[in-house]
Symmetry: C2
Subunit: 376 residues, 2 copies
């Protein structure tokens, strides 16, 4: 757990340094966030930056109110998650000096738990009907099989993917290149609000921040690192989705592509990927076959193993409520665990994500296996 | 060169043994064709077959007239090519005991020369418009770049491929599962006749023979073995085209697939191949990049190297007719080499296939390179 002063300083730093700033991350490692922030009160630059850039950072550091940001996000049902926090997805540490300073998270469930069994589905904003259909189908079927579907909440493939996951009541995470209270692109406002209510919104940038071109590009590294694999559905040559895919490859994640007609420029980027290290996938089952076996990416190797007795009390209560054989619906679980239906559903989904439960429509039942450790 | 008696016996045997009969091929290796044919006059079976099967073979061996078959095929501008003949494509020897007894060939050019730089394009008979478009485009562009396009003359992908190659005046070979004088499927009669006139028709079966299910399957091994690589354009799961592709893989040839929409059952077989050892290709350039480097499949390692001074006199004359710099059209070459335009064109195509010439529409020019050996 990060101390309160350190947390506040990190929250402040998300207003000062841009995502993926490796120099600033070096300061955090060396001096900690509190001393880094303090140093920004002085004229003498920390190592690795020009006077000019230092002056720019100092300008941003003036008159910050991280407590107000934390209150804003708290009011939206959110929080600020720091490296080392129980909710921190430790696979992000694979980004090294490109690791986020912290993540602004909005939504009711644990990012860490949801990201344990997650897949990214990304692609062209100006996708074809074919691309939208494929993305939505993958979103639905990955989510229906208990996988968290992560994307960038953009128009086109991203939006279709989130919508597909939401349509089956599944787990979906939107990683934004702006604040978690900013609806960008504006036309996806209703979708982004819904993801915030039923899923999770995640951002490196503080509330109110707006996206820029470089923020979009840097956001992609978070999507690649959070997930076990990235699926590209329609991408032109030299598209941003290919950047995410190559980033995923570099991080040792599985990189997959959905083929399309060779006559379509929107599949040309995907086919280029597939002629390299990308793997052809045509449905959710093939994706799960590839990412399901990547035990080495599962964070339990570094963090808690999350066996039954390490579950949070509420989740443990929900798990206790389920019978050894047979299934219960959400309502019945809520009654047995003495929780509201909403809270019970959130815990059931977490337990599903962790591999404890199987979902069948509105019914839930225990997964029987030799080893109760998830992701094995 | 095969002796006349041996050649006649092999021609007769194509009426007796089915394509790919490994037992019969064993007899040919051991006793030669003449003695194998003679043995079929006796009641005592050769090793490896039941009395019953022997009786069946003997029945087929009665009243044969291989000289009549040779005359028939000669009348069609054809011939019977045996292993070891100058026109024999020695890469077929990779089939081992599955090697054809001989090939009935119809057309004006040398099968061996054309097959040196050849690619197979195969796929579904009931293809979609997309599949037909892709096959026809590949046929045209492979042929325009000097590659011989080999397929099975069936409806759908095969036909579209041949038509594409013919449309640009390119080299195309139809490998049939029936006699070279039989138009099967009937609706492809005009196409098959045109291939016979402008390209080559090849069959293991003697004139007049009709296709059967197993003959189609066995024909595929000849397509796979003749070419440096096989491209599958649309194939359902468990389709015959996938058999050809796997055969090509087993023979060490490059196996390629053209992706399509994952929503199309006619691309499902291709995608299955691409999830295994098949390579994604989206155009002719990518195919050539893959097969162009397969020097070890080029038959010159086993046969003549075909440098300039080993060319047949007519081809050498055509080559001499071309200037050191600049291009000539077919008409001008014909005049300079004192040949009819048709014969000059046939020789020009051969020389193009061998890598001596480059074609640009109706113009031909010498390829300049360090080493005049083709396929290196």
């Amino acid at each position: 757990m990060t101390g309160e002063e350190e947390r506040l300083a990190r929250a402040a730093l998300t207003r000062i340094v841009e995502p993926g700033d490796e120099t600033a991350n070096g300061w955090l490692d060396r001096y900690g966030a509190v001393d880094t922030l303090r140093a920004l009160g002085s004229d003498t630059p920390l190592p690795g930056v020009s006077r000019n850039r230092w002056a720019g950072l100092r300008q941003r550091a003036r008159g910050l109110d991280p407590e107000a940001d934390l209150r804003t996000v708290d009011g939206l049902g959110g929080r600020f998650v720091c490296p080392g926090d129980p909710e921190w997805p430790s696979q992000l540490d694979d980004l090294g000096d490109g690791r986020p300073v912290g993540l602004w998270v909005r939504g009711r469930v644990s990012l860490r738990m949801w990201a344990l069994r997650s897949v990214a589905v990304v692609g062209a904003r100006a996708c074809t009907d074919y691309g939208a259909h494929v993305a939505s189908t993958l979103g639905s079927s990955l989510a229906a099989r208990g996988w968290t579907v992560i994307s960038g909440a953009a128009y086109g493939v991203d939006g279709a993917t989130h919508n597909g996951a939401l349509a089956v009541g599944g787990a979906t995470v939107g990683v934004l290149a702006c604040g978690v209270d900013v609806a960008y692109p504006p036309g996806n406002g209703p979708l982004i609000r819904r993801i915030g209510e039923e899923g999770l919104l995640v951002a490196e940038l503080p509330p109110g921040a707006h996206p820029t071109r470089s923020r979009f590009v840097l956001r992609n590294r978070v999507i690649a690192a959070l997930t076990r694999g990235t699926v590209v559905v329609e991408a032109e040559l030299r598209s941003g989705s290919l950047v995410t895919a190559r980033r995923a490859l570099a991080l040792g994640r599985v990189t997959m592509g959905v083929p399309g007609p060779v006559t379509s420029g929107l599949s040309a980027g995907v086919h280029q990927l597939l002629r390299g290290e990308g793997v052809v996938v045509t449905d959710a089952a093939e994706i799960i076959e590839l990412v399901g076996s990547i035990g080495e990416l599962a964070p339990e190797k570094r963090g808690p193993m999350l066996p039954r007795d390490l579950l949070a009390p509420e989740a443990a209560r929900v798990l206790e409520a389920l019978p050894a054989r047979g299934a219960l619906d959400t309502e019945a679980v809520a009654r047995a665990a003495a929780l509201t239906k909403d809270r019970a559903l959130a815990r059931l989904r977490e337990l599903g994500t962790l591999g404890f439960l199987e979902r069948n429509g509105d019914h839930w039942q225990l997964v029987r296996r030799r080893n109760q450790h998830p992701n094995r």
